[in-house]
């Protein structure tokens, strides 16, 4: 029954096959096997290095194409950190810049046909999300000591409501890393699965032109979503960082 349903009656849709982790050089997948995830993560890192380090190494006064892209990226993220976290958040700008560039490059590399989207795996995004969570929580306690806990004690609310609000705040605080990582993975996975489903419709000759135009339109949307999700991930990191630095409501 399940087989028949996923085949869609003659059409074969395999939207989830593209997310399969495969070993590149054969053999069992273990802790340190080189898989396609490893390859595309490494390519994302190389892309960041190529974009940010190689283009700016000459340090021209009048920037060329590559250098202006790098400078625009830097300025964009710098302004975002400054706007959301304030002046004292600038110290943590390198971490946020790294996150943004890495996620952006990983998302865009995943859009190349036949490539592998590393950010569509919760295993990858959970590392990023929980990394932010632990960094921000530890930073909050180091900077504010025990008064960091006042983040959960909403002093602007009426006194009888505060314990209830504290429970809600604590739950929402611990859901943060989960939603933070699932948002990125879910968006990437959903978009790429939709692309594959539309590509599957091209198997029928009668609707193939419509399907191909549909794939093009969804692809354009996916380019937008890739950039926006990288932006959203970083801006939420900034928001969490602001909470850690200024826990008082």
């Amino acid at each position: 029954m399940a087989d028949e349903a996923t085949n869609g009656g003659g059409l074969s849709f395999k939207p989830m096959d593209q997310f399969e982790v495969k070993s590149l050089f054969g053999g069992e997948i273990g802790m340190f096997t080189i898989t396609n995830v490893t390859l595309w993560l490494a390519l994302a890192v190389l892309a960041v290095i190529g974009l940010m380090v190689l283009t700016t190494s000459k340090r021209e006064t009048v920037p060329g194409r590559g250098q202006s892209i790098a400078e625009l990226m830097y300025g964009f993220v710098y302004k975002m950190v400054e706007d959301v976290t304030g002046k004292d958040g600038i110290k943590y700008f390198p971490y946020i810049m790294t996150l943004f560039m890495f996620i952006l490059c990983a998302n865009f590399l995943g859009l190349i046909p036949m490539s592998f989207t590393t950010t569509s795996h919760i295993a990858v995004t959970a590392v990023l999300g929980f990394g932010v969570f632990f960094a921000v929580t530890i930073l909050g306690f180091v900077k504010n000591g025990a008064s960091f806990l006042s983040l959960f004690w909403v002093s602007s609310a009426p006194l009888p409501l505060r314990p209830i609000l504290a429970v809600i705040e604590i739950i929402s605080y611990f859901v943060r890393p989960v939603s933070h990582s699932i948002r990125l993975a879910g968006n990437m996975m959903a978009g790429h699965a939709v692309l594959k489903v539309f590509a599957g419709f091209a198997q029928v000759a009668a609707i193939a032109p419509v399907a191909i135009i549909g794939v093009m339109a969804i692809y354009g949307l996916e380019v937008l979503v890739s950039a926006i999700q990288a932006y959203v991930f970083t801006i939420l990191t900034c928001v969490y960082l602001k909470d850690a630095l200024h826990p008082h409501h």
Binding site: V84, S179, N187, A190, V232, I235, V239
Partner: protein
């Protein structure tokens, strides 16, 4: 029988995607309504707009995830 129920459940979970669409549209629409009244203040609020959209969208993504789990993991 169990597989069929899982498919019905996946379809029901897809309702959440529609609900998230309403939420995202609400955020963006209200932003536009405010921005047209005071265009000079709009530029400073785009970050808030995207945060709002992200929060509204996250719950839709959760329902999509539930649907996927029902289809492929259960």
């Amino acid at each position: 029988m169990e597989g069929e129920l899982a498919h019905i459940g996946a379809g029901l979970a897809a309702i959440g995607s529609g609900a998230a669409a309403i939420g995202v549209g609400h955020v963006a629409g209200n932003f536009l309504a405010g921005a047209l009244r005071n265009p000079s203040a709009a530029a400073g609020q785009t970050a808030t707009l995207f945060i709002g959209i992200a929060f509204a969208e996250a719950l839709g993504i959760f329902s999509f995830l539930v649907a996927l789990l029902l289809m492929f993991a259960v």
